[in-house]
């Protein structure tokens, strides 16, 4: 009789125990896959989040805060810098191109960012809009892919923004919404394609809109940050030194700030990995218990196999193969489930958290997950198998 047939019959005979073991492995692996995909997506998103803009200049404060707010639209700006600074940077010999940005208002929680339409050509080159065109006149906006999808916005729609980056609506004493810039209406003229970064979750408009809304005088015109694409990598250092020396101004390397943030996130991910690794060990403990229980039940079967002449190696290998088969079924099911779940939650996760899961790509450390799962399964199967290995035919005749 084929050894695999014998193993498969044993798995089916103890269907509940087998199903529970497979389930434990499957859920753990699926969660691990989602975690690995999220980690990958976060790192990938963070790394390409600042595009060709190697330097950010803004108000003094935390460098991470400046970069996070400028490129990832997270948190609040460090403050404002005068508009004149933008001209000074644009005129620098080291600058290829620079854009001023204003942030501070939002529409339904999505930040409204003021930036020159030329930003898109610099960053995305020949990408075409999903619909409509880029903003040109005052009051026109082009919205990110996720904003349009989540809020059901179409070209031609109109809305008014609210002050602050975090969605909040305050009511005045008469019950009317306060702080909403009802007097200033935006008109949607275009929708961006899916860009897989924070721009998907942003409403873009002209830099001048912020000043128009807040009635800023020419002399008081400020911007929240300036993003710079240098002529060459060598020029970045000179630019940084030049503008970092100014009062109330800081110049930050985008890559360094992102790396700092990633390091912090990495620590969190590592903690999560430790928790998940404990889950993997628990799943393997379930496998070990299932095999141990099955061996107690099967001592006489093994005695019989020994009696009818089956070798110890045959018995050892069938038991290890049974454990490995359960773990492999759980592993494959977990990998499939993890990727399907990733595909299902991908859009909502992106809209909610800005993390774009690449559900149909193998995550960076997925191979390691497979190797570790199978190795632990082998280890978990080996103990009970060795116990059975020592069983002799006389077991049949002992009470």
């Amino acid at each position: 009789m084929n050894g695999w047939k014998y193993i498969w019959n044993n798995i089916r005979y103890r269907s509940l125990l087998s199903a529970l073991t497979v389930f434990a492995v499957m859920i753990t692996v699926a969660l691990f896959v989602i975690l690995l995909m999220s980690k990958d997506s976060f790192e990938h998103g963070a790394q390409k989040g600042y595009g060709p803009f190697e330097l950010v200049i803004g108000a003094d404060g935390s460098d991470s805060q400046l970069v996070l707010n400028t490129f990832y639209r997270v948190g609040v700006p460090t403050g404002n810098v005068p508009l004149e600074l933008l001209s000074a940077i644009e005129n620098s010999e080291y600058t290829d191109v620079a854009f001023g940005m204003t942030t501070g208002d939002n529409y339904n929680g999505y930040p409204i960012v003021g930036v020159s339409p030329a930003y898109f050509a610099t960053r995305y080159e020949d990408r075409h809009l999903k619909d409509g065109h880029l903003y040109a006149a005052l009051g026109e906006v082009t919205v990110g892919y996720a904003v349009a999808k989540e809020l059901g916005i179409r070209v031609g729609d109109q809305f008014s923004g609210a002050h602050g980056l975090v969605e909040h609506v305050e009511l005045d004493h008469e019950g009317n919404e306060e702080d909403e810039h009802n007097s200033f209406h935006y008109k949607v003229v275009g929708i961006l394609p899916k860009l897989n970064n924070a721009d998907d979750r942003t409403v873009f408009t002209r830099l001048e809109n912020a000043w128009a809304i807040h009635n800023d005088e020419d002399s008081a015109k400020e911007i929240t940050s300036i993003i710079v694409k240098p002529h060459s990598l060598l020029g970045i250092h000179s630019l940084k030194q030049q503008f970092d020396a100014m009062d109330n101004v800081q110049a930050v390397y985008s890559s360094k700030a992102v790396a700092d943030v990633l390091n912090v996130v990495d620590t969190g991910s590592q903690l999560l990995m430790i928790v998940m690794s404990i889950c993997v060990l628990l799943a393997m403990a379930a496998l070990l218990l299932a095999l141990t229980a099955s061996i107690q039940e099967r001592k006489r079967d093994v005695g019989l196999l020994r009696l009818i002449g089956k070798s110890k190696v045959y018995i050892l290998s069938t038991l290890i193969a049974e454990g490995m088969a359960l773990a492999t079924i759980g592993l494959v099911a977990g990998l499939v489930l993890g990727h399907i779940a990733g595909a299902v939650i991908s859009d909502s996760l992106f809209i909610q958290a800005g993390v774009q899961l690449q559900a149909f790509q193998i995550a960076t450390y997925e191979w390691l997950l497979i190797v570790v799962t199978l190795s632990l399964a082998l280890l978990a199967s080996f103990g009970p198998a060795i116990k059975v290995y020592r069983t002799d035919a006389l077991t049949l005749f002992r009470n």
Binding site: N9, Y13, R14, L304, L307, I308, G309, L396, F397
Partner: protein
């Protein structure tokens, strides 16, 4: 007629509280090919131990055991496993069918891979028909009566045509009527195939179905032959 079992100076003891407790002491004994023998004796007389020594499950302390011309007392454990798989069939009191396998799969477990699938299925079907289990191949042990389970165990013991069948109380857990039928079936099939059968039983009534009985005496540790009929 050639010897199927040839025992010389066989000794076996068990250790009890650091002392050797002699169980078997047989100066000389032989069983001819095709003989069908009921091994009788009181509890603790060493009947099952003798069966295990002859089947190569236990190693001898002293002496020799030769089965079908092969000296199994000189073999190591792995060699005895291989020998048993080819030359010995076992039937037990508790059948020991593997519960996760169907009746047919329990039989297939002992069959080699030399037969093609169709050939193997045909052979199994013939055997199931022979023992009165037609159509029961795909039943699992718990779906069969105890008598039917023992019939499956008999097929498993005999399907490879081993020259020697060892049966340890094969009807011990069956009712009186079924016990008689099963014992008769075992005897008939062994006679048809000229297979040597050595059965341990404590049931004198069933032992009378055998052409030859052997009494094991736990005082003298020796074997006496009592031919109860002219058969065999």
């Amino acid at each position: 007629m050639e010897d199927m079992i040839l025992v010389k100076g066989l000794e076996k003891s068990y250790k009890l509280h650091q002392r050797a407790l002699p169980i078997i002491n047989i100066p000389s004994w032989s069983v001819k090919k095709g003989e069908r023998i009921a091994l009788l004796g009181p509890s603790g007389s060493g009947k099952s131990t003798l069966l295990h020594l002859v089947g190569g499950i236990l190693a001898v302390d002293r002496g020799s055991v030769e089965i079908a011309g092969e000296l199994i007392s000189e073999m190591n454990e792995m060699q005895r496993d291989r020998f048993r798989a080819k030359k010995v069939g076992y039937v037990f009191q508790d059948f020991y069918l593997i519960p996760s396998l169907t009746a047919q799969q329990n039989v297939e477990l002992v069959m080699g891979r030399h037969l093609a699938k169709g050939e193997r299925n045909g052979l199994i079907e013939l055997w199931f028909e022979r023992v009165g289990l037609t159509g029961k191949q795909n039943q699992r042990p718990y779906q069969l009566s105890r008598g039917q389970q023992q019939r499956v165990a008999i097929i498993r013991a005999l399907i490879n045509h081993p020259p020697l069948i060892l049966a340890d109380e094969p009807t011990g857990s069956l009712d009186w009527e079924t016990a008689g039928l099963i014992m008769k079936l075992l005897l008939d099939i062994c006679e048809e195939n000229n297979t040597t059968l050595l059965t341990v039983t404590h049931d004198l009534h069933l032992a009378q179905l055998y052409p030859t009985t052997v009494q094991m005496d736990n005082i003298n540790l020796c074997i006496q032959h009592h031919a109860l009929s002219g058969k065999g």
